[in-house]
Amino acid sequence: MAVKVEIPSPLRELTGGLTEVSVSGTTVRAALDDLVRQYPTLGPKLFEGGKVRPYINIFVNDEDVRYLDDLQTAVAAGQVIAVIPAVAGG
C-alpha cells in the first residue's frame, strides 16, 4: 500500500480529475516530489523556490506538518497527506 496524497478540488484539473494520487517516499518531501514527478504542472502551484508556498498547509493524517517535522515528517504506507489551502477562518 502506497502513501496517498489528497488533491484539493482546484488542482484536480492538473491530475486528470483524480481526487487522490498514490505516491512513494518515506518523507512528506519525497512523497510530494513523487507527486510532482507524476504531474509536473503541480510543481509551480505547490512550490516556490523549493519551499511550499506560504498559503498552503500540508497535513499527515490530519496533523499539520509544521507541528511535526515539516517536510521531513516521516510517512508510511497507508497514510494520507492532504494539501489544503490555508486562507480561511477568522
Binding site: Y55, I56, F59, A88, G89, G90
Partner: protein
C-alpha cells in the same frame, strides 16, 4: 437605496491576478488570499457625505463600498453601533482623549460578526446557495445561526467543543446543525475548508471569505463618520484571524479614495491578543515576517484563540507600516480589563474586549500609546456571552434576609434622610 455594485472582481493579494466574482477565496496559481476589487473612481463620482447621512443608521449606509449586487437581503439592520466618549476610562488609564466603538450592542447577535455575516449571507443568496456554514470561535457561530435562521437558510456550524456554554447555546437555539469538534479552532477551520471544497456549501469564512471580510470595513467607516468624517490618531483592535484590524485601516483609506474624508490616513494601528494565543503580537514584538503558529492555544479568551491566523502576515505588516504596535495580556489582565471597562463606562465586553482594554493599558504604560493623543478602542463582543470566564473572578453578592436590620448591618454609618 440604489442597487449599485461597484465591485469589479476578486484580486489575489500575492500576485494581483483578477478573478470573476465567484465563491472562491484563494488564487489558483499561488493559493494567495483573494480580496474584493472596486472601481473607486466610479464610487467617488456618486457617493457624498450628504447621501450617506440621509440613509438609515446601519452598516448599509456605505452600500457603494460593499460587494453585493442587489439590495442586502440578510441583516439590513446590522451596524450603526455607538462610538462612546470614554472619559472615565481615560482618567483611569491616564490618557486625555479616548473613544470606545461599541459593537457589544451590534444587532442581532451582539458582536461585530453580524457585519461580516450580513455581507456573506446576502452574497450567498445571490449565488443561489441554500446551505451555509462557518468555522467559529463563537461569535461568528451565533451570527451565522441567527442571520441564517432569519433568512431561511440551512446552516452547518463547526466549533471547538471547548467553547463557552453560552456561545454554544446561543448558536443551537436558532436551529442550526451545530457540530462540536474535539480539537482546536485551527483544526475546525481545516475541516471546514475540506467540507466547503467537497460539498460547495457557502462557508462564510472559507469560500465566501473575500465578501465576508469586507463587512468589517463598516466598523471603520462608522468610527470616521461619528468623529465628524475624520480619523483618530490611534486604533486598538483585538486580533484573532487578524482581518478586522486590516479592514478598519482599509476603510479609512477608502474614505480618502472616494473623497468622503480629505484628512490623510495616518492612523496607527495596534493589535491586542491573549498571551495564551499570541502568534501575531509575537511576530510584531520579535520582528518576524511570518507568525509562528500556536498549536494549542490556552486562554480564557476563546474568541481570539486562533493559533494560525489567516491574516497574521498582513496584520503584522500593517502594524509595522503604520507605526503601531501589538501586545498580549494574561487571563488575569483580561479579567481586569473587562472589570475596568464595566466599572468606568458601564460597558460589559467579552474577553476579547478585556484583552483590548488591558493591552491599551499596557501600551500606554510602555509609552507606545501617547497619553495626549486621540485613541479609539474596538469592543467587538458582549460580556454576557463569556460569563464562564468571570464566575470565579467576580465576587458573588452578599445575601441577606428581607429585613431592614440586616441591610443596615451591611452599610452601617449611612445617614438616613431627615424625618
Amino acid at each position: 437605496m440604489p442597487a449599485l455594485d461597484f465591485s469589479t472582481g476578486l484580486r489575489c493579494r500575492v500576485c494581483g491576478k483578477l478573478y470573476p466574482k465567484d465563491a472562491i477565496n484563494f488564487c489558483k496559481d499561488d493559493f494567495g488570499p483573494l480580496e474584493v476589487d472596486y472601481d473607486y473612481p466610479a464610487i467617488a463620482r456618486t457617493i457624498t457625505r450628504a447621501k450617506v447621512e440621509k440613509r438609515p443608521k446601519t452598516m448599509w449606509r456605505y452600500r457603494e463600498l460593499l460587494p453585493i449586487t442587489g439590495e442586502p437581503t440578510v441583516g439590513p439592520q446590522v451596524g450603526g453601533t455607538p462610538l462612546v466618549r470614554g472619559d472615565r476610562l481615560a482618567d483611569a488609564l491616564g490618557v486625555r482623549n479616548l473613544w470606545i466603538k461599541n459593537d457589544a450592542v451590534n444587532f442581532p447577535t451582539l458582536s461585530f460578526k453580524d457585519r461580516v455575516v450580513s455581507v456573506a449571507l446576502s452574497k450567498a443568496r445571490e449565488f443561489g446557495m441554500k446551505t451555509v456554514g462557518c468555522a467559529s470561535t463563537g461569535n461568528l457561530a451565533n451570527s451565522v445561526a441567527a442571520n441564517g435562521a432569519a433568512a431561511g437558510l440551512e446552516t452547518y456550524i463547526l466549533i471547538p467543543a471547548s467553547l463557552e456554554r453560552s456561545k454554544i447555546l446561543g448558536t443551537s437555539v436558532f436551529g442550526s446543525n451545530v457540530v462540536a469538534v474535539d480539537g482546536t479552532y485551527d483544526e475546525v477551520n481545516r475541516l471546514c475548508t475540506q467540507i466547503a471544497l467537497k460539498y460547495g456549501w457557502g462557508f462564510v469564512n472559507v469560500n465566501l471569505r473575500p465578501y465576508y471580510a469586507e463587512g468589517s470595513k463598516t466598523f471603520g467607516y462608522e468610527i470616521a463618520e461619528d468623529l465628524g468624517w475624520r480619523f483618530p490618531q490611534h486604533v486598538v483592535c483585538p486580533m484573532a484571524g487578524g482581518a478586522l484590524i486590516g479592514k478598519i485601516h482599509k476603510a479609512f483609506g477608502e474614505l480618502n479614495s472616494v473623497g468622503l474624508v480629505t484628512q490623510p490616513n495616518t492612523c496607527k494601528m495596534y493589535g491586542a491578543q491573549a498571551t495564551g494565543c499570541n502568534p501575531i503580537s509575537d511576530a510584531v514584538k520579535t520582528n518576524k515576517e511570518r507568525h509562528k503558529p500556536v498549536r494549542k492555544p490556552d486562554t480564557i479568551c476563546k474568541s481570539l484563540a486562533i493559533g494560525d491566523p489567516a491574516d497574521g502576515y498582513f496584520a503584522a505588516k500593517l502594524i509595522r507600516e503604520t507605526g503601531g504596535w501589538a501586545e498580549d495580556v494574561t487571563d488575569e489582565e483580561i479579567i481586569e480589563g473587562i472589570s475596568l471597562l464595566a466599572r468606568t463606562e458601564g460597558i460589559f465586553a467579552e474577553t476579547a474586549g478585556g484583552a483590548t482594554v488591558a493591552v491599551a493599558r499596557k501600551l500606554i504604560e510602555q509609552g507606545r500609546l501617547p497619553r495626549g493623543e486621540e485613541i479609539v478602542l474596538c469592543i467587538t463582543g458582549n460580556g454576557l456571552k463569556t460569563l464562564d470566564a468571570l464566575y470565579e473572578a467576580i465576587e458573588a453578592p452578599v445575601q441577606i434576609k428581607p429585613a431592614l436590620a440586616e441591610f443596615e448591618s451591611l452599610f452601617a454609618g449611612r445617614e438616613p434622610i431627615a424625618a
